[in-house]
């Protein structure tokens, strides 16, 4: 399955991903329209600061997923793509999922008292946050593909050190 990966060197902290995520989960599907909506559309990823770096935190769609395991209402399920999603109408707002998520990326929609989390934008080819990232700090890849890219880069770094030596 394709997942959202982060290139930690690239994030500028502009939070465009957050806005795009909220708009993608709004009724009007555009920024200007989304502003007036009640409940306010919620974003499902967060740009945090860690040791001086900007770190976009996204749902890892873990397998097994602590949130899914912990959900007492059976409101969370894994879809055919492998994305962990919430079933409409089932969440009871106990926030157990929120408590157990190691990344803190399960949020809360206050008005309906339900959990909100990344659904990997099922209707889009590329998740809205990835499409919105101006520096390509967010990547939508197969895990193997992403790791291969990292290996390729690491190989270049090593080769260069050899060249310099």
């Amino acid at each position: 399955m394709k997942e959202i990966f982060v290139n930690l060197d690239r994030c500028q902290g502009c939070r465009s991903c957050q806005l795009a995520c909220a708009v993608a989960h709004s009724r009007s599907q555009n920024l200007f329209g989304a502003l007036g909506e009640t409940p306010a559309p919620r974003y499902r990823l967060y740009v945090e600061r860690g040791l001086g770096l900007n770190v976009p935190l996204t749902c890892r769609h873990c397998d097994p997923a602590p949130c899914m395991e912990a959900c007492i209402a059976g409101a969370l399920y894994r879809d055919e793509r492998g994305a962990v999603r919430r079933r409409e109408g089932a969440c009871v707002g106990c926030w157990t999922c929120l408590m157990v998520c190691p990344y803190g990326v399960v949020g809360r929609e206050k008005e309906h008292k339900v959990a909100v989390k990344c659904d990997l934008c099922p209707d889009r080819e590329v998740p809205a946050c990835v499409a919105a990232c101006p520096t390509r700090a967010l990547l939508y890849r197969e895990a193997e593909g992403f790791a291969a890219g990292v290996r390729h880069h690491a190989a270049e770094v090593l080769a260069r050190s050899k060249e310099l030596a």
Binding site: Q18, L31, G36
Partner: protein, 631 residues
């Protein structure tokens, strides 16, 4: 959405694509999606603790580090845009004022007073005692009065005070928005938007209105002084669109905004025809205009307009533009890169507007004629390097009738009623043959398929007998699409409007009706339609905010468009903007601009991206005002 509705633009774009030349549309695509905080106006960069951003969905930060709210931040950002627009028009007007003063002092022999009638009318409007003064002395006094308007004084900016109705002056005084210096108004905005000064969004917006009135003064001064120095435009027949470029001539484009250099080039170009012929161009020198410098030389010399705004790069793609001479404002830096793919010489001329990759030939009024000739000769030199394989001139060009200064419109109406020229216009509005008047102004915007909003709205309004005025790149859009012709009146105007335009056209000795759109000049010349509206209001004994007159910048781009839009609202006009300005991050600011301000000034903003809906809203505003006047 297409990139443009203009066939010449589309043809050139296809060519650019084949040759892998980057244009504004390619670069814009790489900018999307754009930053939502910026789009909403809720990013504050006014101090070194920032940038601070407000979460528009209310989950994260609701205040900047200093405590500024979204309302404060949006208002401050809008004010800075108004100040930038005002600063641009201030620079334009000041340039002309200095030139006029040099002319009066005999330091600029290439700048005689070409319109003494206008000079005397202007002096009277300014309240100067002109009797017995010779032209030079009067010009000196007008120039001094102009220059005094820029710095802070104890009295209102003259060009703002004498060019509006008494009712407007009273409304501005009541709100405390009368500017006392053009540049000091810009400076005041920069002060009040500095870290920790004005945080009250409504107070800030009133400060924006004050600055916008300084912008109005700059525009009015720019128009007046250009007319004095270069002549007041009269109806002129010319052509528009890229087809005006000639394969057998040295093509020199004049681009930017100010007539100080371009008018001189227009005056001397014929002298170099022989040199151009000797260089192998039997057609001699062919001047063409781009954007508002193009409008200035079109209005006064009938120089054809090549293209406008977003399509400016495509004049180079034709492969026959030998030199592109620019002054300032709206000149894309990308021109320099593109020019390097061709033989085109890009020539910057103003000390405050240089572009990497361009040749800089500094322009001084004292040696204007010589500099103009030098610049033209660079074009002739470049012509010799033209690559015939790269020549692709699109066929499209339209005949146009332009040159409708206020004076020209009054003169045309005077042919109908010599004693009382405005009466026929007022009578036709009262009778409903003219439902109202809409001023189309502003730019093209890469977000909108070029010209589409202008054309769609104009069709809807003309059919309902709304008389259309146009300036700037808006006027350019209508020019390139054949709207500045008698045929367009037959095609688009409603019966009432058609009859009026036919009657005035006949009286003025034209072969057909006036066009449905009257080209009133460059964007600075938005002051001209205000002058007409003020004269009509004064004659009727009402204020401008009661007249069935509206304005629209359906494809606005620049900060100048924001300042002009703001003074149009202050002048009392319902003012449409067809792209979304960066204010929606503050529902309060958006509400003040689109609703509450109506109660204070009569004018208000209408933000609507759908051109059909926008036209309907403007028609509704016109009908509301007619009802208010009992019509």
């Amino acid at each position: 959405m297409g990139k443009s509705t203009d066939a010449a633009t589309k043809a050139m774009l296809q060519l650019a694509e084949c040759q892998e030349l980057s244009t504004i549309w390619d670069r814009f695509a790489k900018q999307t999606p754009q930053c939502g905080f910026g789009e909403l106006g809720i990013c504050c960069r006014n101090c070194l603790q920032g940038p601070c951003r407000i979460d528009p969905f209310g989950e994260g930060a609701t205040l900047g580090a200093c405590g500024a709210s979204a309302d404060t931040i949006v208002a401050r950002n809008l004010l800075r845009a108004i100040a930038a627009g005002t600063a641009a028009h201030s620079g334009h007007a000041k340039h002309l004022a200095h030139t006029l003063l040099k002319s009066a002092h005999g330091q600029a022999p290439d700048y005689p007073i070409r319109d003494e009638v206008k000079l005397r009318a202007l002096a009277a409007r300014l309240g100067l005692a002109a009797e017995g003064l010779d032209t030079k002395e009067l010009a000196r006094q007008v120039a001094e009065t102009a220059l005094q308007d820029f710095s802070e004084k104890e009295t209102p900016v003259t060009w703002a005070a004498v060019n509006v109705t008494q009712g407007r002056v009273a409304a501005f005084q009541k709100l405390g928005v009368v500017p006392t210096g053009i540049d000091s108004a810009v400076s005041e905005v920069m002060h009040r938007t500095h870290y920790g000064v004005d945080a009250d969004p409504v107070n800030l917006l009133l400060g924006g209105v004050k600055c916008a009135l300084a912008d109005f003064a700059s525009c009015a001064m720019g128009t007046d002084l250009a007319d004095v120095l270069f002549g007041t435009p009269q109806p002129v027949i010319s052509r528009a669109n890229l087809g005006v470029l000639k394969v057998d001539a040295v093509n020199v484009g004049l681009h930017g905004h100010n007539p100080v250099l371009s008018d001189l080039i227009a005056q001397v170009a014929r002298e170099l025809d022989d040199e151009a012929r000797a260089a192998g161009a039997p057609g001699g020198v062919n001047l063409v205009g781009l954007c508002c410098t193009g409008n200035e030389v079109l209005m006064r010399h009938g120089i054809p307009s090549a293209t406008h705004s977003v399509s400016q790069e495509l004049a180079i793609v034709s492969g026959v533009l030998d030199a592109l001479v620019v002054d300032y404002q709206c000149i894309m830096p990308a021109l320099a890169t593109l020019a390097q793919c061709f033989h085109t010489r890009l020539i910057t001329t103003m000390p405050l507007a240089k572009i990497p990759g361009a040749l800089h030939v500094e322009f001084k009024e004292e040696k204007a004629r010589q500099t103009a000739l030098d610049i033209l000769r660079l074009g002739i030199e470049a012509f010799k390097r033209r690559d015939p394989k790269k020549v692709n001139i699109p066929a499209q060009q339209c005949e146009i009738l332009a040159g409708f200064s206020t004076e020209a419109i009054v003169a045309a109406l005077a042919k109908v009623n010599p004693e009382d020229p405005l009466k026929p216009l007022i009578d036709q509005i009262v009778a409903g043959n003219i439902l109202g008047v809409c001023l189309f102004a502003g730019c093209n915007n890469v977000r909108v398929s070029q010209d589409e909003n202008f054309l769609t709205m104009a069709k809807e309004l003309a059919r309902e007998n709304v008389l259309l005025l146009a300036t700037g790149c808006g006027a350019g859009a209508f020019a390139r699409h054949g709207w500045l012709t008698s045929e367009a009146t037959h095609t688009y105007a409603g019966e009432g409007l058609k009859a009026v335009l036919t009657a005035v056209g006949q009286a003025a000795g034209l072969p057909g009706p006036l066009p449905p759109v009257l080209h009133m000049g460059s964007c600075v010349d938005n002051s001209r339609p205000v002058q007409v509206a003020v004269a009509v209001a004064n004659k009727l004994g009402v204020d401008v905010d009661q007249l069935p007159v509206v304005a629209s910048a359906p494809e606005a781009t620049t900060e100048k468009a924001i300042s002009i839009g703001t003074w149009a609202v202050a002048a009392g006009l319902p003012t449409h903007v067809g792209v979304i300005p960066p204010v929606l991050g503050s529902p309060l600011v958006a509400k003040v601009l689109t609703q509450d301000i109506k109660g204070l000034l009569g004018g208000y903003f209408i933000v609507e991206t759908d051109p059909r809906v926008a036209a309907a809203k403007l028609l509704e505003a016109i009908r509301e005002r007619r009802a208010g006047l009992g019509l």
